[in-house]
Symmetry: C2
Subunit: 456 residues, 2 copies
Amino acid sequence: MDSQLKAIIEQIVGVEHVSDSEAMRELHGHGESYHKGIPPELVVFAGSTEEVSAVVKVCSERNTPIIPYGTGTSLEDHVSAYRGGVSIDVSRMDKVIKVNTEDLDVVVQPGVTRKQLDSYLRDTGLFFPVDPGADASLGGMAATRASGTNAVRYGTMRENVISMTVVLADGTVIKTASRSRKSAAGYDLTRLMVGSEGTLGVITELTLRLYGVPEAISAAVCPFDTIEGAVDTVISTIQCGIPVARIELLDAATIDAVNKYSKLDNKVTPTLFFEFHGSENGVEEQTQLVKELATDNGAGEFQWATLQEDRDKLWHARHNAYYASMAMKPGTKGITGDTCVPISRLAEAIDEANKILATSDLLTFIVGHVGDGNFHTVILVDPDNEAEIEEAKILNNKIVERALELEGTCTGEHGVGRGKMDFLIQEHGAGVEVMKAIKKALDPNDIMNPGKIVTV
Amino acid sequence: MDSQLKAIIEQIVGVEHVSDSEAMRELHGHGESYHKGIPPELVVFAGSTEEVSAVVKVCSERNTPIIPYGTGTSLEDHVSAYRGGVSIDVSRMDKVIKVNTEDLDVVVQPGVTRKQLDSYLRDTGLFFPVDPGADASLGGMAATRASGTNAVRYGTMRENVISMTVVLADGTVIKTASRSRKSAAGYDLTRLMVGSEGTLGVITELTLRLYGVPEAISAAVCPFDTIEGAVDTVISTIQCGIPVARIELLDAATIDAVNKYSKLDNKVTPTLFFEFHGSENGVEEQTQLVKELATDNGAGEFQWATLQEDRDKLWHARHNAYYASMAMKPGTKGITGDTCVPISRLAEAIDEANKILATSDLLTFIVGHVGDGNFHTVILVDPDNEAEIEEAKILNNKIVERALELEGTCTGEHGVGRGKMDFLIQEHGAGVEVMKAIKKALDPNDIMNPGKIVTV
């Protein structure tokens, strides 16, 4: 790192907000998966859009890469500094700027995490539905087009970001859209930036949709003898148009891990976690319909959680499933599949994934947002054992190939990063050339999170 | 038009599918508003993606512009051939390719119109919600990011296009996404193409979301003494999170026009049209809540339409509101505002629009998808009277300027075309430069519907 550049950046953000210590650089070089990552040369804790813009501008003038950093919970090596450069950490930009109660939206800085926003909204009667497992930053969630357990009813970051402020590769600041609910005013810059993983710009402010907390909420845990019974229940629920808020599958191995990690005593068998939102009557109606469908597919007894405290415990356990699985074999990391298929192909996709995983002795788990057709396969590997990593990758490749044959996608919500670039080419073909053309147009010197999504 | 190019195109699509007759060219040069338009040099009725690709390729080699054409119902001069060239009419590509009942989606060719799809789906128990006033083609609706009366509940084309096949400026064919419900696989090419108005490519196939026809549907007409009462009812309804399917405002002038055009006898006063979707109980609950809110805001008697036939009549009248307004002064055309603001600013935006319109003697109407914060001002002008056009534009400019000040957008659903390019710059500022960069990257010779959205 050019010491002159460091000095200029220190002037912009304050010397106390810049670090090139080995520990800080190491922390900012990797996410939470098996990818080892590569540390940046410098970590900058920016405090405002103006500071981000100024830092990007001076980096741009020196052709120095920029890697935006939220909470470092990525699973696909999004923050590795492949060409060195500066990590822009937005954790200081953690203010909820304004809740527009009447418009059901909120303006936040990118470092606000989803749990922080949850707490902030507690007394407003409103909530933000997108909830990946990790307590990710909202900027990072927008950057990777994250979703979570509520997406089946409320959509993903794609549907729930109204507008963003973004610093482009030359330091220019744009607002992607107005605060209105819909617009036909030109190319959809909001959706272009959602999912761009820091390769087109740094997100420095977001306007997000909120929803009224439903009058009634009820959650349930429902065990099945077979994974097929669980999956068929999901498919029927979606095809009947029942507006479930959450419908999550955990296979027996995941239930075992979750029980141990979160001190629960669920029956160790394939299980669906449900949540219903609506009026008292509406929730009752949904519940009855789903119970009938589940019973037809061999469900065991539903266990209900209507108290907020019990529901929180349930979903907390679900959100920690990835950490719970890793805890089954300390020292391991997960290689995580994230395929998503049309709902009619879900039973086939999960069945085949199961068969593929069964050929290996590695510890594996299946868990997912099955209402969207999205499921995760987690394969535990020793991150220092190349043979295990290689084996897991071969299994993962087979699962992805099958999902693509079933008209699915290689990633429902984790993003491409460095980890899924080959899959992206398999999935999109000539579309990847369009992505490259956009990348070159908006970042001609390839300084924005280089080497992610596409190489140019 | 170079006669060699015409001969090559005739070879590609068949001589019977190519026309340069004056009448055919004239028809393809304009939409349905006051814009007079400019005819293309040649009209080509393409029959397949392959034919579109081949035509675009030969045009690209000769630097000849391409203007995609659906049904010609645009309001913002989207089909004018400003630099001459070839109109690619997709009306022959009118097949519904496949209804995937289990996945709640449908694959269609771009020339299928919304009413045609409605009829096709009649016996499936499914429906497609996006319904602009005109019987537009689905390709055109995607190209302009259209919405309509159901958007408040079901979203616009932005939310309801799953994937598209698009022919790019060099003839390359891409598929923008898989058929899965969500994906984090790279830049969102689907959302980039939705709303790109033919300036980045020609849409030749679409996969669209469908919804189950609700168990119960009920529609109502509710008169108010004042437009404020009607708008306040809308705002309260949205803020209470009541999941109305449709909530439409028609001012007294529009009701008068609609009554005359569709032979109805609604009281000539500001009026809301509602529709409720859900279970029997759900619809009953929503209805009661909305009635209370409406009564609090001075509503008159609700008139109910629960029979499909009566509902169809009601919405048919609403969809024809633009044609009805023009019929109030034969020979005129509309200059249509399409502003959309956050719902909390809607009362202010409509009140100010009303005051601005009241300063003019031109015939004016206000009608809109108020649940989204979107409303149309229609100003009737003699398309040959420059003074009237100038006056209407000044009124329109004031309305848009105010909407932008209220954190709104210049267009909720009609798109930019040629007509709103200045407003786009006012609204997006530096964002327009990003749009230009994308346009240049994907269409370096500016042959795809040139002169629309941005000039490069």
